[in-house]
């Protein structure tokens, strides 16, 4: 595994040991679940709009712009709390297949979001208030939903296998 020494060094930090041996770990984990639930909830609202299944009385661009800041806020909390848990056993997690799957799914969700942002969102004015949404938007919404459900499942899988 690349950076093997780095992961071991991370585990040895006083902060990592403090998290691993006190109530901090369950505390971080409960905040992590709360953040992920909120993150997935806000994404679900955006994705259903992109799929043309909900909130059609509001412009897609407004729905997206008003919800994405919440998504990013929750994502930041999930990353910080996740990193706190990760560092307690960094070398183990980094080699653990469900953890690797979770990271790949997160990366794919990011790519999907960037593609949508820089391609489909550009001509959003053409379909912002339309009764339906274009195929590209629907594909982005469906892909996002599947990837995030996968992230949740992979995350829970880590808890059962590590």
């Amino acid at each position: 595994m690349p950076f093997a020494e780095f992961w071991t060094w991370l585990e040895g930090l006083p902060l990592a040991e403090h998290i691993g041996f006190t109530w901090w770990f369950p505390f971080l984990e409960s905040i992590h679940v709360l953040a992920i639930a909120f993150l997935v909830g806000s994404i679900l609202m955006v994705d259903l709009r992109l799929l043309g299944l909900a909130a059609l009385s509001y412009a897609a661009s407004r729905v997206t712009r008003e919800l994405i800041p919440w998504t990013w806020g929750a994502f930041s909390v999930a990353v910080v709390t996740g990193a706190g848990m990760f560092m307690t056993r960094a070398a183990t997690y980094i080699e653990h297949p469900p953890f690797q799957v979770k990271l790949v799914l997160l990366l794919l969700a990011g790519v999907n979001m960037a593609l949508f942002q820089f391609r489909t969102f550009r001509d959003i004015e053409a379909w912002d208030n339309a009764a339906g949404t274009p195929v590209a938007a629907r594909v982005a919404g469906a892909t996002s939903l599947l990837l995030w459900a996968g992230v949740v499942l992979a995350g829970r899988w880590i808890g059962h296998t590590i």
Binding site: V33, V40, S42, L44, M45, E66, R156, G159
Partner: protein, 172 residues
């Protein structure tokens, strides 16, 4: 009553079935828990989003009555999903949940949270625009929203801590 219910469940065939399913269907425990988390995500995207709207914090361009009408059915379906996925674990190990103080905390927050959600939905269904009609009602809506928000956060945190309760009380 709690003792007799726990005993009845422990001796029931439902428990045998739940234990069998959790132990023999590949991946069922994490899958059921993931569905439970996705159910919570729907609660966040429905009643919690309505709470944030009442408090003037989220989705400024959306209309709150329309939101309640559109989103609250999702809350009830999500709670049904979570009752089913949650009960699977409770039925499999009744003693672990029935005599766990954290479960008590979770439900003493869940019950009022559900009651408030019901009131918000019910009054708005009976009279469209109910929560926007007067300044008194707008104020009540904000108070209800603040309490509801705190309760739902507490429910999720307590839910995660159920699994840690042994650890929690050993350290007392």
């Amino acid at each position: 009553m709690r003792e007799s219910l726990a005993r009845a469940l422990t001796e029931s065939q439902a428990r045998e079935a739940a234990v069998y399913l959790l132990g023999n269907v590949p991946g069922l425990p994490p899958i059921a828990q993931s569905l439970h988390i996705l159910g919570i995500a729907v609660v966040m995207a429905s009643i919690v989003m309505v709470d944030l709207k009442f408090l003037g914090l989220a989705v400024p361009s959306q209309n709150v009555s329309e939101m309640i009408h559109r989103l609250m059915p999702w809350t009830w379906w999500a709670l049904l999903l979570n009752a089913v996925t949650g009960l699977l674990f409770v039925v499999a190990r009744p003693n672990r949940y029935f005599f766990n103080p954290v479960v008590g905390w979770k439900f003493s927050m869940l019950v009022p949270a559900v009651a408030l959600a019901f009131v918000v939905h019910r009054l708005s269904t009976r009279e469209a625009g109910y929560w926007e009609r007067s300044s008194g009602r707008r104020l009540s809506a904000r108070v209800i929203a603040a309490v509801s928000l705190v309760l739902w956060i507490g429910v999720v945190l307590a839910g995660r801590w159920i699994a840690y309760s042994d650890y929690l009380f050993f350290y007392e």
